[in-house]
């Protein structure tokens, strides 16, 4: 065991969306901060591959499927774990987890500097009081310990730095933010937007996606050049990631030390002082045991990894995991539902096209149980959607060959437009994680056992989302409308959250409203683990806002001598 004498003013575990933000905020607030990342260093100039054309890939984008099957049988379920992008996803053999028979859960993970902020889908939406009051209103789970007024300035704070493009719409359920200019819709999207306004205008609206991609130069980062495969990195730093934005900002303060290859085993608890004192680490490459000490510890390792670290941090005071006096640590796991909706083709637009690859789609904000009550379920869903023209791959389903066939496939095919719903998942005690009694990862750390399944509320909601999507596509002139009704397994939306929820009462929550552990004042959990409900919006922007707020609160509390 190697103990480092140095005591850092703060230790941040994880360098993804939330770890990066904590690094930036804490160092800019003047704290000497150690950032520990379980995976390797990523050097954009060396590791980003967004401009590698298909003909430079061994399988032309069809993936090294045997390697995926052998090394990444879970990760390959994510669309971004492709031929070039798969190096940003974990090796499933080194990083096992278990699920009970018949309850699949897909845990998609990235372990490298930048974490999943490299491959995230960048959609960025604010929650509203409709979401933050929902648990209290429905008597489900526990009430959020904060309201929109508490979060709004922090949303603005992170949006102004990250750069979010979008269009203000003045909707109470989806508050506007600090926006860069919106991206354009396609001709077909414009037609559907107008049809929705005409036929459903009292209750529904379609807007352009709000995305963390720059539509003009912003804070030293360049405007998007619309090359397409964002999940493989971005040399021009045109989309927000910790590698592209927050970590460089932290680095510029001179107060950040970033240590890759540092697999955090547990958090060290000092029973005499009632504080945490640092973290135990296993060096990813050497297997060496290390300890690092800090006055503040912030866990931003991703919802399930942060909870796993806490569950593995046992002591006489906390035999069931650190900061778990409530017994709810690991419970109330959620993910958004995905993959239901509808798809249609749009004849009549053959001479309309678009140029470039828009890293964004359209968004239809939640209307269910906002402006249109449902008799069948509570909460609701929003749609993401995109329209494209069919590519050459349609040729496989067409008879023919030869010169004319080739010429036809060189032309763009029919327009297709798909709406896919993202639905709120209710917090449920039976959806939980625990340490597996037997399995360990490549570093000997107990693996998680994940218990999670959709409930009837989610199933009814998603069925409804298919019908509502179909009627909107039809209104816009869509034909051959196909309902998409198959729900994917939880986890695949990669919005897993909960398991160390914040609340108002230490007896029923792990964290207070500042992401601070009730049981350990100098311990914070800043990632999605903190969420007591899921809303239906993509959550990363909320994690960023909560993290920035927690960092400023931590400094304030530290200065008052409370940590």
């Amino acid at each position: 065991m190697i103990r480092r004498r140095e005591v850092w003013e703060a230790i941040v575990v994880g360098s993804g969306i939330t770890g990066g933000w904590a690094a930036k905020e804490l160092t800019e607030l003047g704290l000497r901060t150690l950032v520990l990342e379980a995976g390797p260093m990523i050097v954009p100039e060396r590791d980003y591959t967004e401009h590698v054309p298909p003909y430079r890939m061994p399988y032309r984008g069809w993936n090294d499927r045997k390697a995926l099957a052998a090394e990444q049988p879970v990760q390959r379920e994510c669309y971004a774990c492709d031929e070039m992008g798969r190096k940003f996803f974990v090796n499933d053999i080194e990083n096992p987890y278990t699920t009970p028979e018949g309850k699949p859960f897909l845990w998609i993970r990235g372990r490298q500097v930048g974490g999943r902020s490299i491959m995230w889908a960048r959609q960025s939406y604010r929650l509203s009081d409709l979401d933050l009051e929902a648990n209290a209103r429905d008597g489900i789970g526990i009430d959020w310990p904060l309201r929109y007024a508490d979060l709004a300035p922090w949303y603005s704070h992170v949006e102004a730095f990250a750069g979010i493009s979008g269009r203000p719409e003045g909707l109470p359920q989806l508050p506007d933010g600090v926006f860069l200019p919106p991206m354009q819709m396609t001709c077909v999207e414009n037609a559907v937007r107008e049809a929705i306004a005409r036929d459903f205008g009292d209750t529904r609206l379609m807007t352009i996606g709000r995305t963390a991609v720059l539509t003009r130069d912003h804070k030293g980062r360049s405007a998007c050049h619309y090359c397409g495969p964002c999940h493989r990195g971005c040399r021009t730093k045109s989309y927000f990631s910790s590698l592209n934005a927050t970590l460089p900002a932290a680095e510029a303060t001179g107060r950040m030390t970033l240590r890759p290859d540092s697999v955090v085993h547990s958090v060290i608890w000092d029973p005499a002082r009632g504080r945490v004192t640092g973290v135990r680490v296993i060096d990813r490459r050497t297997g060496e045991d290390l300890e690092f000490f800090g006055k503040i510890v912030m866990l931003g390792a991703s919802a399930l990894e942060s909870t796993r670290i806490l569950l593995n941090s046992t002591s006489a005071d906390f035999p069931d995991g650190l900061a778990n006096s409530s017994g709810v640590l690991g419970r109330y796991l959620m993910d958004h539902t995905m993959s239901t909706g509808a798809k249609a083709t749009f004849p009549g637009w053959e001479n309309h096209g678009y140029t470039g690859e828009r890293p964004n789609g359209i968004y239809i904000p939640r209307f269910r149980n906002v402006t249109e009550p449902s008799p069948d379920f509570i909460r609701g869903y929003g749609y993401q959607g995109w329209s494209t023209r069919q590519s050459w791959s349609r040729g496989l389903d067409m008879p023919g060959f030869g010169a004319d066939y080739k010429r036809r496939l060189t032309e763009p095919g029919v327009w297709e437009f798909e709406l896919g719903a993202f639905g709120e998942c209710l917090p449920c005690e039976e959806n939980y994680v625990e340490l597996d009694p037997e399995r360990v990862d490549a570093w000997g750390i107990p693996a998680l056992r994940v218990h999670c399944e959709w409930s009837d509320n989610e199933r009814l909601m998603m069925r409804d989302s298919a019908d509502r999507a179909a009627e909107m596509l039809e209104a816009g002139g869509g034909v051959d409308v196909r309902l998409l009704t198959d729900l994917t397994a939880p986890g695949l939306t990669i919005h897993e959250m909960g398991t160390a929820r914040m609340g108002r009462d230490p007896a029923t929550s792990v964290l207070n409203g500042y992401n601070q552990a009730w049981d350990a004042p100098n311990l914070f959990v800043i990632d999605g683990a903190a969420m007591p409900s899921s809303a239906c919006q993509n959550p990363s922007l909320t994690y960023m806002a909560l993290t920035a707020r927690a960092c400023h609160y931590a400094l304030w509390a530290k200065n008052r001598g409370e940590l």
């Binding site: 401009h51 054309p53 298909p54 003909y55 890939m57 061994p58 399988y59 032309r60 984008g61 069809w62 090294d64 499927r65 045997k66 379920e77 669309y79 971004a80 889908a121 959609q123 991206m183 354009q184 396609t186 001709c187 414009n190 050049h225 619309y226 090359c227 397409g228 495969p229 995905m338 001479n351 096209g353 678009y354 140029t355 470039g356 690859e357 828009r358 890293p359 964004n360 789609g361 993401q384 494209t388 590519s391 050459w392 791959s393 040729g395 496989l396 389903d397 008879p399 023919g400 060959f401 030869g402 010169a403 080739k406 496939l409 060189t410 032309e411 763009p412 994917t488 695949l492 993509n538």
Partner: protein
């Protein structure tokens, strides 16, 4: 072993003038060389599965499916090397064996019908033979009781399409640019069918070979 070595040359130096005339490799390359093949190595997976005779048949078949017109055809685009890479490192053994068995049936069929190996048939004869395979695939496609994907020609066609439309000349024909520079959402194409203002065409979710995999949102 000799075969492996010979086919490595196909991958590394297709079209390069270093082969003795009359060698099996030179024969295999003949079609490609006539059009100055620029296949190049397929991403470090050296061709290793197809025999020269099989490679010759694949090249000829692919060229019938996607022929040279005012733009390069499948053989010039390096489809044979791509097919070999798939056979070598991508397909499961059972799928690879089905493909090779189907491929090996092509020449006997050509000889029975026209008295020559497929690659040596006239263009009209080749068109007739491929037409038969394509009609058969289409029949299977329409029959809900049959899995049309479990046939040689299904794979031959999809490998040819993918190999061609992800090649440099194939992508050029689609108007692909690595860095478009801008997104214009709603443009009128100059003339439907030949306009240059159209989207790029890298492999996308829709072109993924394994179906039913959930895609994420943009």
């Amino acid at each position: 072993m000799r075969r492996r070595r010979a086919l490595e040359i196909i991958g590394v130096a297709a079209g390069a003038p270093l082969l003795a005339p009359g060698s099996a490799v030179a024969e295999a390359l003949a079609l490609g060389r006539r059009t100055r093949s620029v296949a190049g190595p397929v991403g470090g997976a050296p061709p290793a599965t197809l025999t020269p005779a099989q490679a010759r048949t694949v090249t000829a078949l692919a060229e019938v499916i996607i022929p040279r017109t005012d733009t390069p055809g499948a053989s010039e685009a390096g489809v044979t090397a791509f097919v070999d890479a798939l056979l070598t490192g991508w397909l499961d053994a059972s799928d690879r064996d089905r493909f090779l068995a189907g491929l090996d049936a092509v020449d006997p069929a050509a000889r029975a019908a026209h008295g020559a190996d497929f690659a040596d048939c006239t263009p009209a004869q080749q068109t007739e033979l491929v037409g038969r395979m394509d009609d058969d695939l289409d029949r299977r496609r329409r029959d809900p009781e049959i899995d049309d994907t479990q046939t040689f020609f299904y794979d031959m066609k999809r490998f040819t399409l993918a190999g061609y439309f992800t090649s440099e000349p194939g992508l050029r024909s689609l108007g692909y640019r690595i860095i478009p520079g801008a997104f214009e959402g709603c443009v009128i194409l100059d003339q439907y069918g030949t306009g240059t203002r159209r989207r790029g065409a890298g492999p996308s979710r829709n072109e993924r070979p394994e179906r039913n995999r959930a895609g994420g949102p943009p």
